[in-house]
Amino acid sequence: MGKGSGKDIQYLLVGMFFLALLIYNYPILMLFGKGKIFGSLPTAWVFIFVSWTLFIGICYLLIDRKSRTR
């Protein structure tokens, strides 16, 4: 990631909020609503928890790590 200023990170975080709001709502969520993956795991269950983990990782990078290195 580039050298973001405090304002840039603010915009990124607001963007993250809207992105998450979009993917965790219908109709996007319905794209992953049905079927099985990795054997017999439900796609919806896997999608939600994997993307949730990713989202937390990004929050960590943007809020915690980024601001500490500044």
Partner: protein, 913 residues
């Protein structure tokens, strides 16, 4: 399989003793200034008080009917986390600075430190949260019941003293009093309580994960086999996919909004996130650790629900108890006990924090204002208020828990944990417009906020609790079927005819829409008081105050230090007051004596400290009783503004005069160079004129001398000499009169059009030409005149016009060549004016002189002799005379081919008006 009831009681007591020891230890460390709570991980864990019995049991219940329908409640806070970071950071900094210690206090402080917003918020919180507390009691009871093998059957007929919920309520009340309401701390921080709930957060997570691991890996062979089995089951199989039928998109969306807001608006969440925060920097870790906690505690919810359905579908076992029933039935009572303890932990931590937060609100925002107002009338200083404040708070704790117990006895039995929890969420989101609006919009007023919240909570009440009361038969069913008073637009589940996927979405939509609208328009149509405007500015533009405290004070206050100390000790106790004053002295490096008058800063400092114990509104009322408040009166404010205004005007003036000065300098410079030029011209002119004069004077003198000295000159000779003398004298007089004409011309132009009369221009030209004909003839120049006009009348002065054309035509003749010279005079009609041109075929004028020849003293070289002839004033005078007649003159020329002078004069039309 069940557990022995005595064993259960012993374990429970041991667990609470452990909590007590932990909390006491934390408080001891706090006193030693070695806080264990000052730690981002503890802070994040304390936020997990969000996960209550609802998460523990309710989610599994909801998952068993809706599949993924439990998730929005945890996705909401996760999605909000990036925004929450900014909102909470600002709220925390403001709250620390103003000693705000509840959401009611925050909103009351924002809207002018007045009582009403606080009362409304505290009331809404009480109405909304008491049912929520009651379902925690319900969860504790069913944990005990399931463990002791009764199954969960509410025994309403049993006498009240046999009710486990009552004992649970009392134990929780004692615990809350011990850690939440031990003393009135101006900061309202309770490290013991925070330590206890952080521990409980770890415990409930570990217990829940243990349950999940046991069920998924103990009963089944991992996720794969569990999901495979579920897919084959007729009921469980339906829950694996996310479909519109299991959870509608609308409901999903509104649950995310609801939980995303509730996660910081719930009084207990506000309490742990803001009031108990020890360092705003901890937010950075909490904003990803807390969502991580939510993720971990939710991984096993769906698998446990599926396993439960596969085991108990068709039996009387309730879905909410699957997590306890499964280990018990697989003969793991110890695991079941730990899980139950985790569930009780979740419930107990919620109850303790929620009750503490509500107690602070109710005592600061409802009781204290009442007490201060009533006691103030009879006795200004209430003795020992400090002690009575603690007493009041303890009573409030007990009252809240007993109310929750009452609610549990009367209503909670009928509903699932989740449905009551959601109703509570919908109540507290009514704070959202006032709180979020309050920190981003200065214009938001108290009237708007209060009316918005009242409108919102009424819509909430009608669309949720009233609807539920109708459904259980407490209220007539007609209201739901036909609408209130028979108005079909007022059906509580289809307000204004709007049908939505579920009651919660419907209620959240309408209550928030109406709340926001009333807040917005109410604010636009009402005014802020001075203090409200000051607070609004502070909350919205917080950064500028944070850096420059005191610079933006708009209210001047003073009081005697003695009375201030006296007042404070009534409410906070002597030692606290000493500490506060010491702190102030240290901060400002000053010593304060009792006889002094306290400054505005000291009064404000005292008020913020008092606000910690009494709430912003009450602290203000109390301080007002001893403080002389001269609201930096509008006069003073205006004076400040005036001074600014004056400064601005002054600087504008300076700027203006500077430009004027520059202009003047430029003009002067120009004039100066003109003068210099003129000076040179004048010098040249004088030398020319004197030269011109000397020539005839010399010849006159020498001829006169000859006549005097020689007597023998014959008559013919002397006549010739005398005629030369006369000629030369004429020449001198001509030169002199031309010089005089120059001055006259300038005066004439000023007097402009006086004495003008209508004249026929072609007649004037004809006269001029005939007057000049002899000269032309003498020089053998052909003089031609053509006219292309019918009517050539102009307004003017006859003599002056004659002079114009004599000058121009005689010039033309003068510059014509000796051989084959021609001068052509023409008049043309151009409509509004007449164009006269005088063309010669002489030597022409150099291009660089064209502009100059009309200037004073400028002479054109006589091509033949290379010396000037004439005074250099002819054309200048001509130009002035033309301008006097509102005309224009210019020349076009080519060297060697001749020049043409053009004069334009306006026509005189007799019928112009």
């Amino acid at each position: 399989m069940s557990l022995d009831i005595q064993c259960l009681v012993i374990v429970l007591v041991a667990y609470f003793v452990l909590l007590f020891i932990l909390a006491t230890y934390a408080e001891k460390r706090e006193r030693l200034k070695k806080s264990i709570v000052n730690n981002p991980i503890i802070y994040a864990l304390s936020l997990a008080v969000y996960c209550t019995a609802w998460t523990y049991f309710g989610s599994i219940g909801r998952a068993s009917t809706t599949g993924y329908g439990f998730l929005p409640i945890y996705l909401g806070p996760t999605i909000m986390a990036p925004l929450c970071y900014f909102i909470l950071l600002r709220v925390i900094l403001i709250s620390k600075d103003q000693r705000i210690n509840s959401i009611a206090d925050f909103i009351s402080a924002r809207y002018g430190k007045s009582t009403w917003p606080g009362v409304i918020v505290a009331t809404i919180a009480l109405i909304g949260i008491i049912p929520y507390i009651s379902i925690q009691l319900k969860a504790i009871v069913f944990c005990l019941d399931v463990l002791s093998g009764y199954g969960f059957k509410a025994d309403l007929s049993a006498p009240i003293y046999e009710d486990k919920a009552l004992y649970a309520a009392i134990i929780l009340a004692v615990f809350t009093i011990l850690f939440g309401v031990r003393h009135a701390d101006p900061n309202e921080r309770h490290e013991g309580l925070v330590t206890a709930i952080a521990f409980e957060s770890i415990f409930k997570l570990v217990a829940f994960l243990a349950a999940g691991i046991f069920i998924v890996f103990g009963i089944y062979n991992g996720f794969d086999s569990l999901f495979e089995a579920a897919a084959a089951h007729p009921e469980a199989g339906k829950l694996l996919d996310l479909t519109e039928e299991s959870t509608s998109g609308q409901s999903w969306f509104f649950l995310i909004i609801l939980s995303g807001l509730a996660v910081f608006l719930l009084p207990r969440q506000f309490h742990v996130a803001v009031v108990e925060n020890t360092n705003p920097a901890h937010l950075k870790k909490a904003m990803w650790l807390f969502p991580l906690y939510l993720l971990l505690i939710n991984i096993f919810v769906l698998p446990i629900a599926l396993a439960g359905i596969m085991h108990y579908s068709g039996t009387s076992v309730e879905a909410e108890t699957f997590i306890l029933q499964l280990p018990l039935d697989y003969n793991h009572p110890a695991l079941a006990l730990i899980i139950a303890l985790g569930g009780i932990s979740a419930a107990a931590s919620m109850v303790m924090v929620a009750v503490t937060a509500l107690t602070i609100m109710v005592s600061n925002n409802i009781f204290t204002p009442i007490m201060i107002r009533t006691k103030q009338a009879s006795n200004l200083y209430i003795s020992e208020f400090h002690r009575s404040l603690i007493g009041i708070r303890r009573v409030i704790v007990l009252a809240i828990l007993l109310l929750a117990f009452g609610f549990y006895k009367s209503v909670s039995q009928e509903y699932s944990i989740v449905s009551i929890g959601l109703i509570s969420f919908a109540a507290v989101v009514q704070f959202a417009p006032a709180l979020i609006g309050g920190i981003i919009w200065k214009r938001g007023t108290q009237t708007g906020a209060v009316l918005g919240m009242i409108a919102g909570i009424f819509v909430w009440m009608y669309t949720l609790p009233v609807l539920n009361l109708i459904e259980v038969g407490f209220l007539p069913i007609e209201i739901k079927e036909q609408g209130l008073f028979g108005f079909s637009l007022l059906k509580p589940n289809q307000l204004f005819g709007l049908q939505m996927s579920d009651n919660i979405s419907h209620a959240v939509f309408w209550s928030l829409l109406i709340n926001i609208s009333v807040y917005y328009f109410g604010s636009l149509f009402s005014r802020q008081t001075l203090i409200e405007a000051a607070q609004a500015d502070y909350f919205v533009d917080f950064k500028k105050y944070y850096k420059a405290a005191g610079e933006y004070e708009v209210i001047r206050r003073s009081a005697s230090v003695k009375s201030l100390k006296f007042l404070l000790s009534r409410y906070l106790g002597e030692p606290q007051v000493k500490r506060i004053f010491n702190e102030y002295e240290n901060q400002n490096q000053i010593k304060i004596s009792d006889t002094e008058t306290a400054s505005t800063e000291l009064v404000n400092f005292a008020e913020t400290n008092l606000a910690g114990a009494l709430g912003a509104a009450s602290a203000r009322v109390v301080i007002k009783s001893v403080v002389h408040e001269s609201a930096i009166s509008f006069d003073e404010l205006l004076r400040v503004l005036d001074r600014t205004q004056e400064a601005i005007i002054y600087s504008n003036k300076l700027e203006q005069s500077q430009t004027e000065l520059e202009d003047a300098t430029n003009q002067l410079r120009q004039a100066n160079s003109q003068l210099k030029e003129l000076d040179t011209l004048k010098a040249e002119f004088i030398s020319t004129v004197t030269h011109e004069l000397r020539t005839p004077i010399t010849s006159i003198k020498s001829l006169a001398n000859i006549l005097i000295e020689n007597d023998d000159i014959d008559t013919d000779q002397s006549k010739k000499f005398l005629s030369i003398i006369a000629e030369e004298s004429d020449r001198i007089s001509r030169i002199v009169s031309q010089v005089l004409d120059t001055e006259k011309a300038q005066i004439k132009v000023k007097n402009d059009s006086e004495g003008f009369q209508p004249l026929n221009l072609s007649n004037i030209l004809k006269k001029t030409i005939s007057a000049l004909a002899p000269i032309a003839e003498k020089k053998k120049v052909k003089l031609g005149f053509t006219q292309d006009v019918e009517e050539a009348t102009i307004l003017g002065n006859f003599d002056n016009l004659m002079q114009i054309f004599i000058n121009l035509i005689s010039n033309a003749i003068k510059f014509s060549p000796d051989v084959d010279g021609r001068v052509e005079v023409t008049i043309n009609d151009t409509g509004q004016s007449l164009l006269i041109s005088i063309a010669d075929n002489g030597i022409g004028i150099q291009a660089n002189k064209l502009q100059l020849i009309f200037d004073k003293f400028v002479q054109v070289q006589d091509g033949a002799e290379g010396k000037p002839s004439g005074s250099g004033l002819g054309l200048y005078i001509t130009k002035k005379l033309v301008e006097q007649h509102d005309g224009r003159i210019w020349v076009e020329s080519k060297t060697g081919e001749g020049s043409t002078f053009f004069v334009v004069l306006p026509k005189h039309t007799q019928n112009a008006w």
